[in-house]
């Protein structure tokens, strides 16, 4: 009984399977599927898992065979993964580098084997930038600038702002600070009255905001946080001080994580500039162009946009991270 059911099942799937794969006219010169190796650096944050998922999903959608390696935040592991991909003669490699330096040798090996390398979300410092095809990443300076533009519009160019910086010395913190300051230079009546590091964490963001609220009592119009987590901490500090976040004090931050959208729906966060981890489509667009011998720019800016409270409710369902 079981056996006959199995036979029916198998033959049925064979029939349908054949039906699906029957070659269409004109399809015959279609090559075997592209094989792409993806050397991810780790899975330390929701942002990064969203990035991984985006690339995996996009590969599946386009019928690309994806070989995936998670280096667990170790560069030597990641170098070994790239080397394995070269040995397996993949068609292209996507690399999300753990750090910026130390890539010359392995990228030269890939180049010698004629395999293009697409960098995602972080650049590398190499002697010869011909070693990689393109870099797809967010522009942190631009994110800071967009946040400042929104704040200038909202406050009609007049505000006392406190800034919650990310981890001192990290690239996103430095560049988000710079972009914001650059834009603010155009508005003489917008001032950063206090700026301290909250280490990108909610707990630190809250503590720093508590100190600001006391030393600048009644003087703060707006908060600019280098990431959503610190903004969420600041929101709690403002509430505990008996004020209304989003009304008494405007808050703008960067990243666009799901919790930030929830805070916007609740009216507590005013705006967030998305730092998009969904780089899959752009990465495979670039790969297809490179493999077709078309030129691609050395730097492709990923699409980051600002979300306001009025967009939040509509956008929240689609947030993947």
């Amino acid at each position: 009984m079981m056996k006959s059911l199995l036979v029916i099942g198998v033959s049925a799937s064979l029939v349908t399977g054949l039906g699906w794969t029957r070659p269409q006219p004109g399809d015959s010169k279609e090559k075997k599927p592209i094989v792409v190796g993806f050397a991810q650096e780790g899975a330390e944050s929701a942002w990064r898992t969203a990035e991984t998922k985006s690339i995996k999903d996009e590969a599946q959608k386009r019928g690309v065979t994806l070989k995936f390696s998670d280096a667990q935040e170790k560069q030597p592991e990641q170098i070994r993964a790239v080397r394995d991909f070269v040995r397996q003669k993949v068609d292209a490699i996507i690399l999300a580098p753990k750090v910026e330096t130390g890539w010359d040798v392995v990228l030269a090996e890939a180049k010698a084997a004629g395999i293009p390398v697409i960098l995602v979300d972080r650049g590398v410092t190499v002697k010869d930038d011909g070693l990689y095809a393109t870099l797809i990443a967010s522009d942190f300076v631009e994110e800071g600038r967009v946040a400042a533009q929104w704040l200038a519009k909202e406050t009609k160019g007049k505000a006392n702002i406190v800034e919650l910086q990310g981890t001192t010395g990290s690239a996103p913190a430095e560049q988000r600070k710079k972009g914001f300051a650059d834009e603010l230079a155009k508005h003489p009546e917008m001032k950063i009255i206090k700026s301290q590091s909250g280490d990108f964490s909610r707990a630190k963001g809250k503590q720093v905001m508590e100190a600001f609220l006391k030393s600048e009592r009644g003087n703060i119009n707006a908060v600019y946080a280098h990431n959503d987590d610190m903004a969420l901490g600041a929101i709690q500090a403002i509430e505990e001080a008996g004020l209304k976040p989003g009304k008494d004090i405007l808050i703008v931050s960067i990243d666009g994580v799901k919790a930030a959208f929830e805070a916007m729906v609740a009216g507590k966060l005013n705006a967030t500039v998305e730092c998009n981890p969904l780089l899959g489509p752009a990465a495979f667009d670039a790969i297809e162009k490179v493999l077709a011998h078309q030129t691609v720019p050395k730097y492709i800016k990923s699409e980051d946009r600002l979300y306001e409270q009025k967009d939040a409710a509509a956008a929240i369902g689609g947030r993947k991270y």
Partner: protein, 348 residues
């Protein structure tokens, strides 16, 4: 010689005071008073305390509330260091216990205070027990054993949470760990109760004598019948429990457990608090009150820098400088005239 040391180190409570200049909480306390006094003069509204929603509100309260996590860690750390050990794992234990507690809260939506606190503290105590066994049974150096746990505990926290932050809503949990008692932040009350409890145990039971004896000279203590292994293991379990409580208060404050960031580098803050509080890193007498004052001192420095907008890079230097100065004063080594050479005895 050995018996001599035991006597002077604390076998007889009446002669516990060492012959040299006693370390005391006086220096960190003086330093704290100076910082607070300067703030009262220079920082607007610094000393003002208001009542908002039945809680006290003001910078002084912030210092005590935000300092209470390190105060809790410092209580356990004091006892471990007094036994001539060290516990680098407390920050990771915070993350592990806090995450476990938060996951329990998510399972019992809306309530689950007991389940959360219970699971967090059991896990924290187990981690402390493991540290103790590694040190006592496997004879690993404390710095190595607890460094291993520093890595492992945060790893487990990441695994059980799937690497993501655990958010929760539990009004009773927040009332216990982020509420107020007579207007005071409950985290502070908790730290004070734990500190007072441990102080009384050290002062009024044989445990205090044992801890000091093990830290002074473990060999001598063993000869005198002190259960050295159990004392050490007990110290690590206490440090684990304190870290567990610290983890619960830290995640109650932000209604979220962040396994990647929670408690990061706080083991260093706790060690600094203990050292400027007067407990010697080579073991000996636990200076619990000094450690608590040390924790409050470092937190007031942090808040002072934030209120005066000192750039982070510079504020770290200032904090380090203050810590070094207090330690030097504490050790009594800052002498303008060289002290006459004394023959070094067992207690020197």
């Amino acid at each position: 010689m050995v018996a001599n040391e035991m006597l002077s180190r604390g076998a007889d409570p009446e002669s516990r005071r060492p012959p040299r200049r006693a370390r005391s909480a006086a220096w960190p306390l003086l330093c704290l008073i100076v910082i607070l006094a300067l703030n009262c003069l220079l920082t607007p509204h610094f000393a003002s305390i208001q009542v908002r929603d039945g809680r006290l509100y003001g910078s002084l309260i912030d210092i005590l509330r935000n300092g209470s996590v390190v105060m809790l860690l410092a209580v356990g750390m004091t006892v471990v260091i007094a036994t001539a050990g060290i516990d680098l794992s407390v920050g990771s234990v915070m993350a592990l216990a806090g995450t476990a507690g938060a996951l329990a809260l998510v399972r019992h939506s809306g309530g689950g205070v007991w389940e959360a606190a219970g699971s967090a503290l059991v896990i924290a105590a187990l981690s402390g027990l493991l540290a103790g066994l590694l040190v006592v049974r496997l004879k690993l150096q404390p710095i190595i054993a607890t460094l291993a746990l520093l890595v492992v505990d945060r790893g487990i926290a990441m695994v059980i949470s799937g690497g993501e932050k655990v958010r929760f809503e539990s009004i009773p949990f927040e009332a216990v760990f982020h509420g107020s008692v007579l207007g005071l932040p409950s985290a502070l009350v908790l730290a004070a109760l734990v500190g007072a409890g441990v102080w009384m145990v050290l002062r009024f039971t044989v445990a205090g004598v044992w801890v000091e004896a093990v830290g002074g000279n473990a060999q001598a203590a063993r000869t005198c019948g002190v259960p050295v292994g159990s004392v050490r293991t007990g110290a690590y379990i206490l440090a684990g429990l304190c870290a567990g409580l610290a983890g619960l208060t830290a995640c109650a404050e932000i209604k979220e457990a962040d396994p990647a960031a929670m408690g990061m580098y706080l083991e260093l803050d706790a060690i600094i608090a203990v050292v400027i509080g007067g407990t010697s890193l080579t073991g000996g007498r636990p200076m619990l009150l000094g450690s608590l004052i040390g924790a409050v001192l470092m937190q007031s420095l942090t808040i002072t820098m934030q209120m005066h907008d000192v750039p982070t890079e510079q504020s770290l230097i200032v904090k380090a400088a203050v810590a070094v100065v207090v330690c030097v004063l504490q050790a009594g080594r800052l002498r303008l005239v060289p002290a006459p050479r004394k023959p070094t005895g067992a207690t020197g």
